[in-house]
């Protein structure tokens, strides 16, 4: 795997030995930081608005500017959003819905990743006639607009007896996740020399054994990429969540929408923003904690296909 501390580009940009270039090198360096900083501000701007708004009282929002630092910092909105804001008749905040999302996301991510790994392994290493066609059919499936599948999917879930249930939601997310997870694993495994599989076969290792003892141990980086991608997509999904759930199985995005998007009620922007940040915490956490492995995983092959 690539060594991160010795990036080739970094070497290229490292200060040269020529003393007359030091000054311009330094200026360039400052320019670089200024640019990076400016972009960081651009990316942080919406988060800044969300966080400051969530810390204001409703009176302050109503009277003052929406985009300014809070005069009096209060965490009331956060408490309300988590445990007492109304998402309908129930006023228990986001808390009960959070668990639904976890129950839905974790199995769906695991299943889609496992299936993607097996599919990718087959397509990349056990090429048979038609495998490429199957792969392209799967890839094309990534592009189907989800609005198209809502109604027929509802019908299918009804037939399967999974309507309105969390297992139903898991099935939907797994099916529409397979395309991308297969793509990721296939592009990763295709970089592993086919000789490895051949040699193992000669040694008498079978299909699963080769996967288990050769491919899986190599797969950590791409597993991280796939899990992050799937986790973000499934956790943040609203359309499937709202269509295929019923009372008691609604995921957190539906609850968030109920808080934020009521049409004729009085708007509590501070609670809205706090709720939004709370609902996004798991994905934010995943990006912050696993971000490094994300880049590493991408480096390790998924993009070389």
């Amino acid at each position: 795997m690539t060594d991160f501390t010795h990036s080739p580009a970094a070497n290229a940009a490292a200060p040269s030995a020529a003393p007359q270039r030091n000054w311009s090198q330094l200026a360039l360096r400052w320019l670089l930081f200024a640019l990076l900083g400016a972009f960081a501000l651009f990316y942080l701007m919406p988060l800044f608005v969300m966080v400051t708004t969530s810390l204001k009282s409703l009176d302050e929002i109503r009277t003052g500017s929406l985009i300014s630092l809070p005069r009096d910092v209060t965490f009331d909105a956060w408490r309300t959003a988590w445990s007492s804001t109304c998402t309908g008749v129930q006023c228990e905040g986001l808390r009960p819905y959070f668990w639904n999302s976890v129950l839905m996301t974790v199995p769906a991510v695991l299943l889609a990743t496992m299936l993607g790994a097996m599919n990718g392994y087959v397509i990349a290493q056990w090429r048979f006639k038609g495998a490429n066609l199957i792969f392209s059919l799967m890839l094309f499936g990534c592009f189907i607009p989800f609005q198209v599948v809502l109604l027929p999917m509802a019908r299918m879930l009804g037939i399967m007896g999974l309507a309105g249930s969390i297992p139903g939601l898991i099935v939907v997310h797994v099916i529409y996740g397979i395309g991308f997870t297969t793509l990721f694993f296939r592009n990763y495994y295709v970089t592993i020399p086919a000789e490895l599989t051949k040699a193992a076969k000669v040694d008498g290792a079978g299909f699963f054994r080769i996967f288990w003892s050769i491919f899986l141990p190599l797969s950590l980086p791409i597993v991280v990429v796939t899990v992050i991608w799937q986790f973000t997509n499934i956790w943040n999904d609203f359309l499937f969540g709202v269509s295929f759930s019923q009372a008691g199985t609604q995921p957190v995005t539906v609850a968030l929408n109920n808080i934020v998007n009521s049409t004729t009620g009085v708007k509590e922007y501070n609670v809205d923003m706090a709720a939004a940040i709370i609902a996004a915490l798991p994905t934010l956490l995943v990006y912050v904690v696993a971000g490094k492995y994300f880049i590493r995983g991408l480096t390790a092959g998924s993009v070389k296909g």
Partner: protein, 414 residues
């Protein structure tokens, strides 16, 4: 309090497990999710529970019910329809035609709904002669709200004709005040448009154009005049109006930045939440012209299996139209009761105006369904009209072009 709730729940569950037949049950799909609205629905839930029912809440907010309708379609197609659904206007009949609505005539007849509901509102609740929905409230759409201080200091009276409105607006412009607070979202454009159409065209015209979709009326000179007035109003709106939420527009009236807002009576809730007093801090009046545009929220019952659920539907329908719920709910929501025999002592002056006007216009035949809020037309046609209204309001399209486009667009939607 909490303890007693738990105790009741425990007793209920013991009872339920001991007896084969549980009490009435209902899963209710609605889009009243925010503070005040949710509290209003909670009134119904607690009444339901007091009568031995079990309420399962299925709230889906967004887009004035769009998201809820998405969920509803998915639920119906999967054969898993909710027990009761917040549904209004011709959508009730549309769902009935799909053969998925339950008949609640037995409750309606036992409770004598026909005697207490205005005829035009009762009409929305019936499908081919049977009762298929229960009305909750009446929102009036054609309201104009004003900041009392701003009007007073500029020596302006509440306008009673659109000419007066324009004159007042010019005066306010000169004084550096935004005459009309408006949020540029399609449904808000449509709300203003229908108020203007009712004012300029009158009730007969409105009915022909937006209920019967009469082509000659849609293409008439009166319609050109209405679009002209929309163009005039566009000049009275500040330049940042696009995409603004309605409540931010209300806030502009509240803090004196703007003088007027044209919006349904849920705007009152926003004023009151900010501690403003009707008649003193803010004024309410019907928009210039005759007539009354209503938006009646209602619940329709879907076909479900199981006696406990059917019992739940009957109980729910009975409670919804019951006097107590109609009073408490509407006090919370800013609207007025759908039934005419509820005492209005606890309601504010705007609600009194609304109720009085509703009765008067009911007798005069000018009690009309709001097209902008899905009471007058089916979705496809209402949407086609709104597309034109909002395209005209947000561009420099001429009124003549708008009228032509309106006719084409409506014809294309049929």
């Amino acid at each position: 309090m909490k303890k007693s709730v738990f105790a009741t729940a425990a007793v209920a569950s013991i009872v339920a497990s001991n007896m084969a037949v549980a009490g009435p049950e209902a899963e209710v799909l609605h889009w009243w999710t925010s503070g005040g609205e949710a509290k209003s629905v909670a009134v119904l839930q607690s009444e339901f529970a007091d009568n031995g029912g079990t309420w399962t809440d299925m709230p889906v907010a967004g887009g004035g019910g769009d998201a809820a309708m998405t969920a509803l379609r998915a639920r119906v197609l999967s054969g898993n329809a909710p027990t009761a659904v917040q549904l209004k206007g011709p959508a009730i009949q549309e769902w009935y035609e799909e053969g998925v609505l339950a008949d609640i005539s037995s409750v309606a007849e036992a409770e004598g709904w026909a005697d207490v509901l205005p005829a035009s509102i009762a009409g929305h609740m019936k499908c081919e002669g049977t009762w298929c929905a229960a009305p909750v409230n009446v929102h009036r759409i054609d309201w104009i709200w004003a900041n009392a201080d701003v009007l007073k200091s500029n020596d302006i009276a509440m306008p009673t004709t659109w000419a007066e409105f324009n004159a007042a607006a010019d005066k306010l412009m000169a004084a550096g005040i935004i005459p009309l607070a408006h949020g540029g979202q399609a449904w808000q454009d449509a709300t203003v448009f229908e108020a203007v159409a009712l004012g300029i065209g009158g009730p007969e015209f409105f009915k022909k154009a937006f209920v019967e979709l009469d082509m000659d009326t849609l293409k008439s000179d009166t319609m050109v005049e209405i679009f002209d007035q929309m163009r005039t109003l566009r000049g009275y709106v500040d330049s940042n109006f696009a995409g603004r939420d309605w409540n931010l527009a209300t806030a502009m009236v509240m803090n004196g930045e703007a003088a007027f807002q044209i919006m349904g009576d849920w705007a009152k809730g926003e004023f009151i939440a900010a501690g403003k007093v009707p008649g003193q801090d803010f004024l309410c009046a019907s928009t210039p012209g005759e007539g009354y545009l209503y938006n009646v929220d209602s619940f329709a019952m879907f076909n479900v299996d199981g006696d406990d659920k059917k019992a739940g539907q009957d109980l729910l329908a009975k409670l919804i139209v019951g006097q107590n719920f109609q009073k408490v709910f509407n006090l919370n929501k800013g609207s007025i009761p759908a039934r005419v025999d509820v005492a209005l002592d606890e309601f504010d002056s705007c609600a009194h105006t609304s109720a009085k006007d509703m009765n008067a216009s009911n007798e005069a035949g000018s009690l009309l369904p709001s097209y902008a809020h899905g009471m007058a037309l089916r979705g496809a046609q209402a949407g086609a009209i709104t597309d034109v209204v909002t395209a005209h309001f947000n561009s420099d399209m001429s009124s003549a072009d708008a009228v032509e486009m309106l006719a084409n667009s409506v014809a294309n939607s049929l």
